[in-house]
Symmetry: C3
Subunit: 328 residues, 3 copies
Amino acid sequence: MALRLGAIIEALGGDLQGDPGLSIERLAPLATAGGDAIAFLSHPKYQKELAASGAACVIVAPAMHDAAAARGAFIETPDPYLYFARLTQLWKKVHARPETARIHPSAVIDPEAVVDPSARIGALCVIERGARIGADTVLKSRVTVSEDCIIGARCLLHPGVVIGADGFGLAPHEGAWVKIEQLGAVRIGDDVEIGANTCIDRGALGDTVIEDGVKLDNLIQIGHNVRIGKHTAMAGCTAVAGSATIGAHCTFGGRAGVLGHLTIADHVNISSTSLVTRSIHKPGLYTGVFPIDDNATWEKNAATLKQLHSLRERLKALEKMTMQDKKS
Amino acid sequence: MALRLGAIIEALGGDLQGDPGLSIERLAPLATAGGDAIAFLSHPKYQKELAASGAACVIVAPAMHDAAAARGAFIETPDPYLYFARLTQLWKKVHARPETARIHPSAVIDPEAVVDPSARIGALCVIERGARIGADTVLKSRVTVSEDCIIGARCLLHPGVVIGADGFGLAPHEGAWVKIEQLGAVRIGDDVEIGANTCIDRGALGDTVIEDGVKLDNLIQIGHNVRIGKHTAMAGCTAVAGSATIGAHCTFGGRAGVLGHLTIADHVNISSTSLVTRSIHKPGLYTGVFPIDDNATWEKNAATLKQLHSLRERLKALEKMTMQDKKS
Amino acid sequence: MALRLGAIIEALGGDLQGDPGLSIERLAPLATAGGDAIAFLSHPKYQKELAASGAACVIVAPAMHDAAAARGAFIETPDPYLYFARLTQLWKKVHARPETARIHPSAVIDPEAVVDPSARIGALCVIERGARIGADTVLKSRVTVSEDCIIGARCLLHPGVVIGADGFGLAPHEGAWVKIEQLGAVRIGDDVEIGANTCIDRGALGDTVIEDGVKLDNLIQIGHNVRIGKHTAMAGCTAVAGSATIGAHCTFGGRAGVLGHLTIADHVNISSTSLVTRSIHKPGLYTGVFPIDDNATWEKNAATLKQLHSLRERLKALEKMTMQDKKS
């Protein structure tokens, strides 16, 4: 099922230089695209790949006009990456196979749950009593939405997602743990995407809140009472401990962590694997990762690290001694 | 469905100063509680919040008697946090909606599994041949308990839990891996809680053992042959490699790790994200985390870290030189 | 159901010194094996355990011949660990209970999916349109294989596995995220094992590829467009970001991480928890982990670490000063 360049322009706009009748068979990366494919140039640093690319058509920014023209057909647009994103959506829509039932017959939906008639519930999902699923929201297979949890409109939940398991609340008593029942729920806004096997716990007293436009990758853990602000994105395996409050427009690299009860401002970027151990009040990029090295070098440096404080003391002593020598 | 203060005292004890007829509509945090809510003061450092709180009633320790009395109704009890935990349990019990079937009809239970008649098995659970589920244990939706695995009494397993997948056992042979079949099972004691999408692997020869009262949060990985002692608690995303033996009454912060075949004593506390790389024989708090910083500072420090051992050597040389100068 | 030593030798080879009629009731670790058990000695360092072992029979390498003979019955074989692995397979086969249906009736298999007649699909699995499952492959319970994903022959997928959820592809636009539809799929080779709740995302344009003989433990995240070479093994909770290319015969300790778009050569070993932040072109063992310590010591060292770069500058200044003193 090919798509002509003219049809792409008609749907998405952009300024085409080339034959609108040209037939596109696939979307491909610039480096490997063949004569049946459309590709895009996201960054000027790939300009060399542009010249070498065999793509039928390339999506470029105005600054690349001349380089693209020297090569063949192209679509000019202010933000090629965004254009490409919309092209994937167009491609998926055009190639969509006929959908079957909106509610898969194997899904287990409590009679006291409310599912918008436009929502789509996949095979073997569980939607418990009091849960609500908004308009045009899609639950892929094997998603659990627990009692009283609310999912907004146009959300996409991937297989294995668990919304509203109990938060981890325990009071110590005579060497054992007494459970704190988790009386809150989870409230998820509109346009939220949640990756496979990700878990969002219900609140202890109030609700755990995921605001509009948040994007969570796979295998993420969100503790009870957490609030994540609008349009924040977290890559896979990130973990946020209970009662953390995270701002809007933040990004988290994969495997990042946030301790409980912290506050993170808007527009904060946390590098992969870093653990946030204190509240962050200023936008910016923050990192805390032990640099990888060949194992022998790491062993020497890691062993020395355990004496780092005493090294500093020795340095201090030496400085003092040298200064005294200078004076005397 | 409100609860009068008198009914709370009747169920949980404690010394009420105030009107037993006062109606409580909700449980709330001290800082946000309104005139229809009961709250608790866990620590004297929140005393300022106590004075400012609009709660109808506050649960406090005897040391807070005067401060609480100055404000309004209160319940005095030696351990307010424990009292609060029990109050959440009372609240949940009073507000429980009528339960439906003990065994959800969509659950897949092997005829050779043994499920106590008082256990509750949620939608789309799988209980395989030879598995046993104890009295009053609850499996929420989509839990798998594999062949021959045993779950004790009063356990709570959250959605997506996998008990008894194969441990990761491989013998190298001519550049490929030969599977070591995992012939053991998993044995879980009484009063164990296991969070969403957590996995506990079956043993290679013997069993993986989780003792009474252990509490595991979400997305935790427990390798084969591991033993976890009584009342140990692990926060989300912790991973324990095969054949580790962990004592009783330990706590693990989220994202902690334990290498294989290690032994950890009773009453050991591991900080979030730390990797235990050697056996720990003494109780105490242990930590190993790279401190987070703004990215530019981290880059400078991380780069220097790779020369740490040689810095030490340079410091040593300088010390020697300075000492010689002193002598001469 | 016991197995005579003679039957073991008949099935697996090896040189038996002892009574072939001896009945083996179980496989056990050397240290705890009783008179009804067979055990193995993987490494000469356990020779003391060999002498003390009560095992009915021990599997040893030729170098251990004398030590084993001094104790009782033994099987001599060049690679005892490999022999043991095969013995677990024999044991499982002999003790296998009669299998029920190849396709569990609760599995949801799209009519446009292709499942080899010799494959085995467990309870509550979901196999979507266009997916293909190869010969003798086993899906345990609650596995999802999404649209158009391909699983080879003799694979084993544990409960909760999700193959082919969308990769995490987003284009920023006016403070929000525009979804990049994931148009590729996942292709998994032969003899691949995938642990419980592990996720492998579909590619953005091309496919995510897992080559023959790869072994993945539980709760692993494989991002879109990743390629993992033959016979690479990854322990639990490892995370590989999008478009990373990982060589053959690599090993990853648990909780390891790989940033996106990196390349890792064949025969690279990554230690547990380490984050790979740059491409690795040479075989070898690589590590990057903050050493764990008692918390008080860690606090001092971690605090000093934040001044590490300035310590180096101070050391440099001191060196210069001392050298000048020498000269003058």
